[in-house]
């Protein structure tokens, strides 16, 4: 026999306020990072970002660097195997991720009247956010007391509690 669901809606709101906004932002950020991965396989409680994503080729301190471009053997392309220039070797061997490249480019220090990658991002939406059930996608009228994820009814709440709840909250 299910307990009456009268208060929980209100309580959930209280809970969402008590949950640190910072924690929620972090959770959203992590989720978005996951969605950017090339081989997004497991919604993991990730190992510090995206590194597990890309395979073999790069670094691993001490290990000899292997490049995939040298391994590729082109048939029939003839014998033209020139040595690449220093610049090319550098670019191939020392891969940097985008965050590093952005840091190094110094675009963060450009004066504000120069448009850059950083300034080009669109502003936040004027419309209030919509709440959609995290289980079935219908309107999410209620929020989980523990993790603030929205759900629509008791049924979905049950699924949520059993599977997703708290997995993403720190």
């Amino acid at each position: 026999m299910p307990p009456r669901r009268h208060q929980p809606a209100r309580q959930a709101q209280a809970a969402s306020q008590s949950l640190d906004a910072e924690v929620l932002a972090k959770r959203a950020k992590r989720r978005l990072d996951e969605l950017e991965r090339s081989n997004y396989a497991e919604p993991s409680v990730s190992y510090l970002g995206l590194e597990d994503d890309e395979d073999t080729g790069k670094s691993g301190k001490g290990r000899a660097r292997q490049t995939i471009s040298d391994k590729r053997i082109l048939t029939g392309a003839g014998t033209k195997r020139r040595k690449s220039t220093m610049n090319i070797r550098t670019a191939i061997l020392y891969r940097k991720n985008l965050t590093t490249l952005i840091d190094e480019s110094g675009i963060a220090d450009y004066s504000t009247n120069i448009p850059t990658y950083i300034t080009a991002v669109t502003g936040p939406s004027q419309a209030p956010p919509r709440l959609l059930c995290s289980v079935c996608g219908y309107w999410g009228r209620y929020k989980c007391k523990k993790c603030t994820m929205p759900y629509c009814d008791l049924n979905c709440q049950g699924v949520h509690d059993e599977t997703r709840c708290e997995r993403r909250v720190l």
Partner: protein, 449 residues
């Protein structure tokens, strides 16, 4: 110069669109990825992927991260193949190159483009620009008898992100370019996650889910009504589709089940209900997945607000759609309905759809490459050998050309190329010290940001 073949390379994060300007109409669309197929026990580089037979559990290595080229090792492996004699059938050392780069490409990355073009593949000359910069040369806005507009606004929604790009007199108005961090990659991953949570575990099946996305998903113009409709009982639910998943033995390709089609017991059915529209919906409401950004409609309004007051109406009246995401059914209808309340009442809003949104930039590029003026845009190998990447920096108009005086802080740390060829004109010390002398061409557009 006139007879030099021009290799046109629209180097997208998902697919490379490749062709030669004087070689007729044929264009090749090649995945810009190194793909490992478990079933085939083979690794496919770029164009080799068409030989792939088993599309289950593919592993991707993409040269691009969030729209920018970071993995040059992978990119070289793919480019080596497409610049070889089998694919391109043109000798790079006797050809010119037109290549696209992402919007706001970082200076450090641009240098590596230059290095690859001249030092590795040794093209005679080359021109590099963003996809939208090519559109004025193409036919997206062409209506018989009317010259193409001076002001246009391009919405480029691709694999990595979505940009809104105003163009005035053929040049991009960079201060008003806006980006939404939603692209096809994110949408496919989102669909994968939804489906895996609700039905089958498809987390490893990026390739299949991308096909599901492309065949089932659409943009709704009535989200609230559709979400109610998907709750209705299956008999009266007109949105529900059944996608028959491929098993790679009998049926190689997945397909949508037709209304009267019988299914075998062995067929695995994927039910596509509200996933069909709630996934593309993210383009219009990024906050649905917790991304605190405006959707396309609002972003267009933000961008136009940064343009000179008296000509804003021209941009509302010339909106062009390019990029794979704009192919979603219902995209332009939805965009129009979002824009109408945002635009001034007396403004006409016209949206131009491309017949082939993925190839639009490529086709425009071919038009440009055929024009005589193209030879004046390029940087030649001699110029590069003379002054290195500075030659390209001076000549290619990009987001920094609003501010030409300041060329400074580009060589971060490892500027080995520029150490060899020191450019006398550029004694400015690296980072921080930046003369705030700007020469902005669209003065009125520089409002507060």
């Amino acid at each position: 110069m006139g007879r030099t073949p021009v290799v046109v390379l629209d180097n997208g994060a998902s697919t490379i669109k490749l062709g030669v300007s004087n070689a007729g109409k044929d264009v090749r669309v090649i995945p810009n990825a190194i793909i490992r197929s478990k079933g085939d026990k083979t690794t496919y580089f770029g164009e080799e992927f068409e030989a792939c037979r088993d599309f289950s559990s593919l592993n991707y290595r993409l040269p691009f991260e969030k729209g920018y080229l970071v993995d040059w090792d992978a990119q070289k492996a793919i480019w080596d193949g497409i610049f070889s004699e089998q694919v391109l059938r043109v000798d790079p050392t006797a050809a010119s190159l037109l290549i696209t780069e992402p919007y706001f490409n970082l200076p450090g990355i641009q240098e590596v483009y230059d290095q690859f073009v001249f030092e590795e593949y040794e093209f005679l000359s080359y021109y590099r620009c963003s996809p939208a910069a090519l559109i004025p040369h193409g036919q997206l806005f062409s209506i018989a008898g009317i010259p193409s507009p001076e002001c246009m606004l391009i919405v480029d929604s691709g694999f990595s992100f979505t940009h809104v790009i105003p163009i005035m007199d053929g040049a991009i108005v960079w201060p008003a370019v806006k980006r939404i961090d939603v692209g096809g990659k994110l949408l496919t991953n989102q669909l994968k996650e939804l489906v895996s949570f609700r039905q089958w575990n498809m987390m490893d099946e990026t390739h299949i889910m991308n096909d599901v996305k492309e065949s089932c998903c659409y943009v709704t113009s009535q989200f609230a009504a559709d979400i109610e409709a998907t709750r209705a009982n299956p008999k009266s639910n007109t949105i529900l589709q059944e996608y028959i998943l491929p098993d790679f033995s009998l049926n190689k390709r997945g397909r949508i089940r037709k209304p009267d089609e019988m299914t075998l017991d062995s067929d695995q059915i994927l039910y596509m209900n509200n996933e069909r529209f709630s996934v593309p919906e993210i383009l219009f409401r990024p906050d649905d997945i917790g991304l605190p950004q405006s959707g396309i409609g609002e972003t267009i309004a933000q961008s136009i607000a940064l343009l000179p007051d008296d000509i804003q109406g021209m941009f509302w009246a010339n909106i062009g759609l390019i990029g794979g995401n704009t192919k979603f059914h219902g995209f332009s209808a939805r965009l129009l309905s979002e824009l109408r309340p945002l635009a001034p009442v007396d403004c006409e809003i016209v949206i131009y759809e491309s017949k082939d949104a993925i190839l639009e930039a490529y086709r425009s590029a071919v038009h440009l490459a055929k024009q005589a003026a193209f030879s004046s845009l390029v940087v030649t190998r001699e110029e590069y050998q003379e002054s290195g990447s500075n030659a390209c920096r001076r000549k290619f108009k990009d987001w920094r050309s609003a501010d030409k005086e300041k060329d400074g802080p580009v060589d971060s740390g490892k500027g080995k190329a520029s150490m060899r060829r020191v450019d006398e004109k550029e004694p400015s010390p690296p980072p921080s010290a930046k003369p705030v002398r700007t020469r902005t061409r669209t003065v009125s557009a520089v409002k507060r940001r």
